[in-house]
Symmetry: C3
Subunit: 345 residues, 3 copies
């Protein structure tokens, strides 16, 4: 896969300053550890500088100020951003091959754009709309009345329940389930009565949704995933929750119903958020945090129940001393009793 490029051509694509022979050719991108002279590699994180020093790569993409490397270098402002361009150069995305596969089942009232693709075994229900250049992967289900924008990729075997709205350039990975019923019951003293979940789900532009992630429809109104938010695998987003823009939800995060997650918030792996919780813009929840109530904008929190991270880290450090502390306090009590005995004499 991919082609081969001269370092000069790559430097141009990356907006990089080249220190090395512009006519040298590399055939692929490779990590520092496994790269050979025919590869180009990259140093995106300074902590891997030792690996960069030892790499056999023919060239390395590095930051402006990296020193101590004797390789051909392509210096850029942001090696991570350059990596995106580099990988796109070597691995250009194949354009959508338009067409509805004969082994799919598309309802006569669905409107599939002529430039869109529907894969084998996919089912597209009545009234659904598939926008320009969008792809419905093999074995996917697109429910009645679903509206999908342009340049969307539904990987094979995704499910979109009826009535869900998906914007442009959204990517959904296999196994994701968008728009299942919210988890709502009214206990009547005898059994749990199901509260009909008749609301919707709106996925805005440029969202990516991981494999086997579940995002529920609203009871009434809409569950919303805001523009540019990125959701990892096996994440749960409950009914009526509104996730802001450019939010990061790492794998196995669970967000209950009716939450508000502010723009650019980051929820690390396995974080749990209770219902009706508001998380402020740019807040960061470290892995496995449990969040029972409001998190102010910009705050970094850890632990269950979550606290400001610095505070939580001090507690974790002190915890190690806790068994010892119990003993010390017992000893102190005895010593103080003795002293009190003396003092009372």
């Amino acid at each position: 896969m991919g082609g081969s490029f001269t370092l000069g051509r790559i430097a141009e694509a990356l907006g990089a300053t080249l220190e090395g022979d512009p006519s040298r050719v590399v055939v692929a991108v490779a990590p520092l550890e496994t790269a050979g002279p025919e590869h180009i590699s990259f140093l995106a994180n300074p902590r891997f500088l030792p690996a960069a020093a030892e790499t056999r790569a023919g060239a390395v993409v590095v930051g402006r100020d990296v020193e101590g490397l004797s390789h051909a270098l392509l210096r850029v402002d942001s090696p991570q951003a350059a990596l995106v361009l580099l990988l796109r150069l070597f691995h250009p995305e194949a354009p959508t091959r338009p067409g509805v596969h004969t082994a799919s089942v598309v309802d006569g009232t669905a409107r599939v754009d002529a430039s869109a693709a529907v894969g084998p075994g996919a089912v597209v229900e009545a009234g659904a709309v598939i926008g320009p250049r969008s792809r419905v992967g093999a074995l996917s289900f697109v429910g009645p009345g679903v509206v999908i924008g342009a340049d969307v990729v539904l990987h094979p075997r995704t499910v979109v329940y009826g009535g869900v709205a998906i914007g442009d350039r959204v990517i959904v990975h296999s196994g994701a389930v968008l728009g299942a019923d919210g988890f709502g019951y009214a206990f009547d003293g005898r059994i749990h009565q199901k509260i009909p979940q008749v609301g919707g789900l709106r996925i805005e532009d440029d969202v990516e949704i991981g494999a086997n992630t579940t995002i529920d429809r609203a009871t009434l109104g809409n569950t919303v995933i805001g523009r540019g938010s990125k959701i990892d695998n096996l994440v749960q987003v409950g009914h009526n929750t509104e996730v802001g823009e450019d939010v990061i939800l790492v794998s196995q995060v669970g967000i209950s119903g009716s939450c508000r997650i502010g723009n650019r918030a980051i929820l690390a792996g396995q974080v749990g958020v209770a219902d009706h919780v508001v998380i402020g813009e740019g807040a960061v929840l470290t892995a496995q945090s449990g969040v029972p109530n409001t998190v102010p904008a910009g705050q970094v929190r850890s632990g269950t129940p979550s606290r400001p991270s610095l505070e939580m880290r001090r507690i974790w450090a002190a915890e190690a001393m806790l068994p010892d502390l119990v003993r010390k306090v017992r000893a102190l009590e005895k010593r103080v009793r003795d002293l009190e005995g003396h003092a009372g004499e």
Copy 2:
């Protein structure tokens, strides 16, 4: 969607006492915040009273004793129970459209009731039985010998392994996997030998199972989900576990093998239960609890390892003082040493 109704008709359906004009018409149910004069809304939780006071809704369903609202009111004993009726009134469930889709694959020995439906792309294997008015959603898999009762809804793309038994009125959401092998191996000192998982899985009446939830078959005997239990998305139930009746398992709960979960127990989000654990009737585990051993009936527990919630909350509160406590004890030790020096003089 839905129709429009007079307040008089709605009051009748809800068994409500109407305070307002019975001939007034509303066209949809809406949340307090977004409702307009053409909508009916509801106040199911007293903490939203301020929102109710400000709603523009044409009418509000409220409890018998709510005060301070100047809207048309429909007073009921339980607003949450009334919400169920209200939503069913405006969003009546469509009856099953019987028939086996031509693009499905149904084995000749399977028995699909004439009133049942099998969607496009679904696969129903040998000897399976689909009961009256039940629906096998598009792209679902029903394994050999599966028995499904009446009025069951398998949403698109569910999987039911061979031999699983499902009762009446069960709802299974997309991506759920019922009856995969339990996680059982015998380490022979060299490798993990797979223990064949030859037991079954029984889902009793009125159970609902969320999207991408997994419930394993038993090694021998049966894994059981008891009548009326409601299971959220991405939940794991291990082999040979018996979940009682009317149990609530919130999203991302993980229950190991051979557990017993008592009737009406509630396990909040991300709770983990170790194997062979017994959880008593009506016990409540708050979110993210880790449960290594027996929980008595009716007890509310929190934390990992879980403790009675009041105790755990006191510990969490005291934790904040822990770093300070370490310093204080050090200071006390010094002061007591000094006093002891004096006392020894």
Copy 3:
């Protein structure tokens, strides 16, 4: 299902010493609690000895040194290993019925071994290779260029993205997604730019993967699941992570990107591992542990952040005393102040 066997025949198959009538016939394997005289049962864990004493089973498989049972006994070195043989005897696995189902969609350039099977509704893309006796379950998706070895079982509705390599005797349960994009973005100060995920995923021989588990492809290079490792349901393995051999990952474990998990490590349910973490050979992480950094080989750890289990258990025990400790220290401070007052007199 299964046949019936004499105890003599069973003893032979298990390499057991029979204490009882070799001509006695049993018709099935059953747990101690539910077994009748026509069943054979087993005592794999000494803690169930009371149940064994009371079982009505016609025969019991037990360890060499178990005493106090009056049943017909089959004594073996390892009852757990014998259980594997016993279940295989009564429930022999059906051989693969070769053939490509007419309702599947197999690309003309894919190579399906003549002894392999492709189920109804399955999709096999261009250039994929399916090895001898392997089964692609109904409604499964096998992407372009996927290579699958011999005797592999893909249960219905699994997804294997393009380019993934699967060894021999691998079992993949329904809903698993192998090779979806890793979760990698470069924040450019404005939005999260997707880093193309162009690496692969290699599943080695004898691996088993649970239902709805997700294992991501690498950004570059390979994500690897080592030979003989067993992965439960709803597990997440991030991009570029290398899981060693004979590793156990219990349900809902989440492993971030670029981790190294040593051979024979055991990660219990809901454990979370941060990115770039190295876990040593044979290490054990107890349930719900959170692992932010290196775990030495062979160490048993618990808690978040994880510590050696003995230390963590001492902390958990001491936690219960923490609220009391706060009070005691306050009281001590007062008493010491009083003593200091006296001493200063």
